[in-house]
Structures are given as structure tokens and as C-alpha cells.
Symmetry: C2
Subunit: 162 residues, 2 copies
DNA sequence: TATTGTTATACTCTATAACTATA
DNA sequence: TATAGTTATAGAGTATAACAATA
């Protein structure tokens, strides 16, 4: 019942190939889907951060997305121009601006979450409970391993269900 | 022992969140890693295609990556300028050019594959055989479902082990 | 007429470097 | 001196539209 070293290595390669394929296709599909709403992956990641953390400094957003401060200026510029966020003055630090969701930004996030229902049906609908649980456990372990190695993690959703 | 509808829906959301997180972090990490070698995700996807399919028309590459023909011109331009590929005349169709790996391109792909060994150790090293097999099964099912729904799939690795 | 690939143009993300205003 | 955010500049991916050469 035991497998050889080569078979384990082969499984590793297969797993990596699957993860990369899935990463590229999901990223690509997400980008195309967002483009139809005038959004981009980076801009939506900012919206996700704002939903999770409330108004924050651009510097914090730049750190969270692992981009240069100048890059975040451009991303926020785009979100301001399309009325998803505003820059509010910081109450005590006159250098800083608090990036804040507009009503449109909040409504957009809410709509996107509602929209996910159709997508999860494609991904998981009818999948056995056992297999889904197993997949989730595996994904969580892989993500935990990546975190341990200092790779940057977006906070796409950070519920920590008890 | 059975779960409620709400619990299933919650698992769906959790699964989607994990997949998106993983997609974004892997895409981001891949992009940064490739940048150190003067490559980009799109360019490497072209190299992968060439490795798997041999010399092909730009049009086929554009379809495979789901980008406009003009976009592929730019990607191939970049690969030609950095000596990863060449444009060879098509034997019968004088309009077309066959994009072909250079020795440097082939060597780079080989080196990247060797390099993956360290990465899979981070992702899977020491993971139980059972959990890895389970994760792989789940990923394959999700990918199959995406394929059925017409989403674009890069061919990061297309071994079809019997 | 259809197809391959191009030039032209524009927008976004990304990075580095230098700078201003403020702390 | 250090920090927040900017202007300036540059390279890459993406898209649409118009065009050339060829099939």
C-alpha cells in the first residue's frame, strides 16, 4: 500500500501543476470579470481590505498588497475617479489621508458577494461533503505553509469560523 | 452527522475564499519570482506552451492564452528581444511565423522545472499521503468543472497520467 | 473574402528615484 | 531625522481599430 519516493515526487509535481493552473485561470477569469464592471484585481483587493479593516492609510494598503507606495497612489486614484472610494483627511496627521469606501464602493462589494453564489455552484455544487471538506483542509494547510514562509497573502476573506 | 444548508453554503464560501486567496498569492509570487529572471507570467505561459506543443503560430498562442493577437505580438517581441524564442518562417504560409524556442529558452524551462523541487517541499513536504491525494482529487474536480463552463485554462502542465 | 500579423493609440499595474509637507 | 504621499519616468500587459500581405 505504500508508494515509492518517485511516486511521491510525481504527486508533488502534479499538485504544483494543478495549483498553478488554478491560480492562473482564476486570476485571469477574475480579472476579465472585474473588467466588465470597470474594476481590476488590484482595485478590488483594496476594496476587500477596506471592507475588512475600515478606513486605512494608503501606506497600510501598500503594505497589505505588497506594492510600492507610488503604486498605491495610482490604484487609489483610479478608485477615486470611478467613485468607489474617497480620501478623507486624517484627524490628527495632516500628511495622511484615510481611504474610505463610498456608498457605491460598499454596494459594489455587497453585489459581488451576492454574485459569488452562482460561481460557487459551478465550483462545488453537488460535490460530496467529504470531498469538499477534504479539499478545504488541504487548501488551508497549503496556505498555512505559504504564510510560514513569508509569502504575501491577500485577505480575500478572513472569516475565522469557530 | 448531516450538515444544514447554511453550513454547506458556508463551506462553499470558505472554499471560494481559499481558492481566491491561493490564486492571488501564487500569481503574485510567481510574477515576482519570474521578474528576477527577466520574465513575466505571460511570457512564461508562452514558453510552457512551446514546450508542450512545439513551434506554433502566434495566433494559436493568442488563443491559448486568451489574449488579442496584438497582445501576443508584444509578448513574443519581448521574448525575441531577450533571446528566449525566435520567429521562424512558416514552410508553406508566408504570412505566418512559427514561434520557436531558442536553446536559452529550453534551458530556462529546464532550470525552472528543477527549481520547483524546493517549492513543492514548502507546499507539500511532510504532508500525509492521504491528505495530498485528497487535495489533488479536489483540485482536479474543480478544474474539470471550470473547463466544462468554458473558462480559459492555461496549460501549466498537461500530463494525463493513465 | 478570410486570415496572419502588424502599426497606432490608450489604459492599467508595477517599480525606482527625487521631492514636498508634516511629524 | 523619519514618515505619508506626491510628481516624474519607465517597462510590461491588455484592448480596440485600421491596415498590409497572403491565402
Amino acid at each position: 500500500m505504500s508508494v515509492t519516493h518517485n511516486e511521491v515526487a510525481s504527486q508533488y509535481e502534479r499538485g504544483l501543476g494543478l495549483l498553478l493552473q488554478l491560480a492562473l485561470v482564476l486570476h485571469h477569469d477574475l480579472a476579465q470579470s472585474l473588467a466588465r464592471d470597470g474594476l481590476t484585481v488590484s482595485r478590488v483587493r483594496v476594496l476587500w481590505e477596506l471592507r475588512a479593516r475600515g478606513p486605512v492609510l494608503q501606506r497600510e494598503l501598500a503594505d497589505a498588497l505588497d506594492v510600492a507606495p507610488r503604486t498605491m497612489t495610482g490604484i487609489v486614484d483610479g478608485l477615486v475617479a470611478t467613485d468607489f472610494v474617497t480620501r478623507q483627511p486624517h484627524p490628527t496627521d495632516r500628511r495622511a489621508a484615510l481611504v474610505t469606501l463610498t456608498p457605491r464602493g460598499e454596494a459594489t462589494i455587497a453585489a459581488m458577494e451576492a454574485d459569488q453564489a452562482r460561481f460557487v455552484e459551478i465550483l462545488f455544487g453537488g460535490m460530496s461533503e467529504e470531498r469538499l471538506a477534504c479539499l478545504i483542509d488541504g487548501l488551508e494547510e497549503v496556505l498555512a505553509r505559504l504564510r510560514q514562509h513569508g509569502l504575501q497573502l491577500p485577505s480575500a476573506s478572513e472569516e475565522e469560523s469557530a
